[in-house]
């Protein structure tokens, strides 16, 4: 029994190594999302085309809220996916033009195509703060009741769509079906 104590340092070392080993693979950039299962923040703003917009104008069905900016390179990477989703009518996409300039945003939409129902013009990042955004691109999955159900920080490409969003949407649909 007393010999057991000689193993205490080894056991402690193994335990510490396991904890630190796991720590190596955690993403320190991943912030806990505070808004999951909470309603989308209230807003009364304008679109990049200057029409007035508020929560009432959002789609009644499930939709994506995509935070983008003309300065944002990864947004170009996910852009084809958003275009496809909108064109094939898979899910409506609403844009948040985050900390951008109106003329640059409009140019960007002209050049690359516009997948958005509309883009909320958030030049001061005020809506962004309420959403807890810390950089474009970010994509929120919002259900028909205007409640945020999922948040994806980073590029939403076809792979992410198939592996993350499609299952999440299927799960939400199954939840609301019965």
């Amino acid at each position: 029994m007393s010999k057991l104590k000689y193993f205490i340092p080894v056991i402690a070392f193994v335990a510490l190594a396991l904890v630190l080993w796991r720590g190596l693979y955690l993403d320190p950039k991943e912030l806990p999302s505070m808004l999951i299962d909470k309603p989308l923040p209230e807003f009364a703003m304008t679109t990049v085309e200057d029409s007035e917009i508020s929560n009432a104008d959002l789609p009644d069905s499930m939709f994506l809220l995509n935070v983008w900016g003309s300065y944002c390179l990864p947004c170009l990477v996910e852009h084809p996916t958003l275009m496809r989703l909108a064109e094939e009518g898979e899910i409506p996409v609403v844009g948040v033009n985050y900390k951008d300039r109106k003329e640059l945003a409009l140019d960007w939409l002209d050049t690359n195509g516009n997948p958005f129902e509309f883009s909320i013009y958030d030049d001061l990042g005020r809506l962004g703060i309420d959403l807890g955004v810390y950089g474009a691109p970010e994509t929120y999955l919002v259900d028909g009741n205007g409640v945020i159900r999922y948040r994806h920080v980073a590029v939403l490409d076809e792979q992410v769509w198939q592996e993350v969003f499609e299952p999440a949407i299927a799960e939400l649909n199954a939840e609301s079906a019965p």
């Binding site: 320190p28 950039k29 912030l31 806990p32 999302s33 505070m34 808004l35 900390k99 001061l124 990042g125 005020r126 962004g128 703060i129 309420d130 959403l131 807890g132 955004v133 810390y134 950089g135």
Partner: protein
């Protein structure tokens, strides 16, 4: 031999100076406050809150877009008369615990707050046990020799003297 030490000291001084300078690089904003107290609170809050975009910078030390927006929000809230607790709650609701350099005391942060204390206690107990045991061994060693041992010691000492 002395030259490398001098060089190391010199390098250390330069590094320390650089480090000190870095923390001095605060973002200069042109926020206006009604009182010095408000300004002091602004500085305290933007020093204690962490920039969500960056890994290791507080709001006052970051030039990131979000940090800029959050400084503006803090300024607005201070002018509107919100308390520090209310402003921290506002930040928590949006960015969670990540935003705090000084995490809140909760059941799941207890280990974070008191873990070092626990390790200190463990270390203290271990150090105390070791030193107590050492003292006991010392005490055992100073005990009187039995006659046999004494005889042997005398013999050894005598041999040693005759040899020298």
């Amino acid at each position: 031999m002395e030259k490398p030490i001098a060089a190391v000291l010199c390098l250390a001084t330069v590094l320390a100076a650089l480090l000190a300078m870095q923390t001095g690089y605060a973002q200069v904003d042109t926020f206006e406050f009604e009182t010095d107290e408000q300004q002091r609170r602004f500085r305290q809050l933007s020093d204690e809150l962490r920039c969500p975009q960056c890994q290791n910078a507080n709001l006052s030390g970051s030039s990131g877009g979000v940090a800029e927006d959050l400084r503006r929000e803090i300024h607005r809230m201070i002018i509107e008369g919100m308390s520090n607790a209310e402003i921290e709650q506002f930040m928590f609701e949006r960015y969670g615990d990540f935003i705090f350099y000084r995490p809140r005391l909760r059941s799941d942060t207890l280990l974070l707050w008191f873990g070092p204390l626990i390790f200190l206690v463990i270390g203290g107990v271990v150090a105390w046990t070791i030193s107590r045991r050492a003292r006991q061994t010392d005490a055992a060693n100073t005990e009187q020799l039995d006659p046999n041992q004494q005889q042997r010691l005398d013999k050894l000492l005598k041999n040693g003297e005759s040899r020298s």
